[in-house]
Symmetry: C2
DNA sequence: CGCTGTCATACCCGGCCGGTATCACCGCGG
DNA sequence: CCGCGGTGATACCGGCCGGGTATGACAGCG
């Protein structure tokens, strides 16, 4: 059976592609690390690394193990955290959500849930773009609000909460802001107003003229200054400034906000919250496409 | 960081609720096991087990860790198996499917995939009821055909392939077999023909008059003998005997056959098969609700 | 009040994990 | 051609820890 320590060592080497640096990162000396990796390869009877002159490369099998090991190490950290939190307060939940998104929906979910008998106390954890997945995976959160198709939902159970149109957020003074509706064609390649660029899953940005966005307050500022525009779900209207204008995008894909949680979670508290959310979803008229 | 060994030990104790039996199962003596669990509890600073007079019970935190640990151990076994298989043949896939279901769909999927350039060689692994999930989780399979809502799809990525009606499979001579369509009400509580009972996720059976079914051949035999009937998806017609009859159930929920795979799988071969499956799904006229 | 069955404690031993020192090898530059 | 720096592998050693045996503490029970 693979030991956690071996996986940790292997991930370090596979990421650094350098034994000495990996050893330093792990806080051990290089020879024991070499030996540990050799033992791992012997026990699996698989070549994981190609030792060339000048450096190390991953074999195909090594790449597979790297993916698997990362997931296992995340799950292990998650197990420890969840166990500790279960011991601390049995009726507490941590909900991760994008900072600044879905004010109303979140408010409604929390209010409705709090009204239930024996409702778990819910701690809200605000995190940056797409960080919710990591929070769920490593056990810092029990449940998260995420958005399809933006967030990576692979590996989680989900409950759909709200589907809404996307809108373009523009500087109030811009000519396009006068329009009552827009299309993707209208907003692409506007010379003086490039579309803002969000980070991808890995944190990198695709090339383009627009500014690189890290969080919502920065985006709001840049739009207000007339430097960029952004495409967001309709409920983002709730945090608009006076200097902002919003126009629906008729042909942009709809965005679905979902409640997500780790699939093997059998927690009573998560189940209760999901049940609450399901009921919310069945009477969506009050929140769907709500206008400010 | 939690070690695999500790998790293995804890799972054994949590399942047996008995140190000596758990130690025997693990192939070690009882005292080291006691010590290991104590160390685990000390390092987590959490009480996992309640040692009463006469036996052991799990605390809430212990229950949480049990769930997490089982998932981690499965993932660890999966990692080893997948790594070994990646090393053995880089362009091979194992597909798990229910024995006897979806002949045509599977055949079409395999044929279409084999026609692709650089197609991975696909090994088909037939397994019993709901075993596919375990096969995927512990790395014996890379991809599986499963059915919603019967199979537990939590934690997997899926691609829908085929949605079909359910049909009642009856002994050919039975009066109900003459009907061209049936409802759930028609077949529930038929005195001389109780509905067969399938195992649940945990392998147990819910109580009822019908026989307990383990596999499809046994079911076929029992139906042919006039001892039971069963409700299955329409494509099951393809394996019917002369002694069988099938009638569509107008009000039974539809069954969707999906291709499922572990969410973090970044394998080229899985991606290619999924792409093939997506294309199948886009031209569904030939297979959807296919009648024999 | 022993007897039984439970888990915990005490103690010992061997293996392995990690450290230091060193080697083998390669590329490179004088 | 020959050191030199830098790579990972090897050799060896010491301490810790995981595992074993023997035994204890304690509760239930006849």
């Amino acid at each position: 059976m693979l030991e956690t320590r071996e996986l940790r060592y292997f991930v370090a080497v596979a990421e650094e592609l350098h034994f000495s640096r990996a050893a330093e990162r792990l806080g051990i000396a290089q020879p024991p690390l070499s030996r540990a990796i050799q033992q791992l390869e012997r026990r699996l009877d698989v070549a994981l690394l190609e030792r060339n002159r000048r450096g190390v490369t991953l074999t195909g099998a090594g790449q597979v193990l790297l993916d698997e090991a990362r997931a296992i190490l995340d799950a292990t950290a998650a197990a420890a955290r969840r166990t500790r939190r279960a011991a601390a307060g049995t009726n507490r939940l941590t909900l991760a959500t994008k900072a600044g998104a879905n004010h109303k929906l979140l408010r409604k979910l929390l209010d409705t849930h709090a009204a239930e008998p024996d409702a778990a106390e819910i701690e809200v954890l605000l995190c940056g773009m797409g960080e919710q997945a990591r929070m769920l995976r490593d056990g810092r959160a029990d449940v998260a609000l995420m958005q399809r198709p933006f967030d990576a939902l692979a590996g989680f159970d989900t409950e759909e909460l709200l589907t809404e149109q996307q809108v373009a957020i523009l500087p109030a003074g811009h000519p396009l802001a006068a329009r009552t509706s827009l299309t993707m064609a209208d907003i692409s390649n506007v010379p003086d107003l490039p579309v803002a660029r969000w980070p991808r899953q890995d944190g990198s940005y695709e090339p383009g003229p627009g500014p690189e966005i890290h969080d919502q307050s920065q985006l709001a500022q840049l739009i207000a200054l007339g430097r960029t525009m952004a495409v967001l779900c309709a409920s983002s209207r709730s945090w608009l400034w006076n200097a902002h204008a919003a126009a629906p995008l008729t042909d942009a894909p709809h965005v679905t906000t979902v409640l997500a949680w780790p699939p093997h979670s059998r927690s009573r508290a998560v189940a209760a919250l999901v049940r609450t959310a399901t009921q919310l979803q069945q009477e969506p008229t009050k929140t769907r496409n709500a206008q400010p």
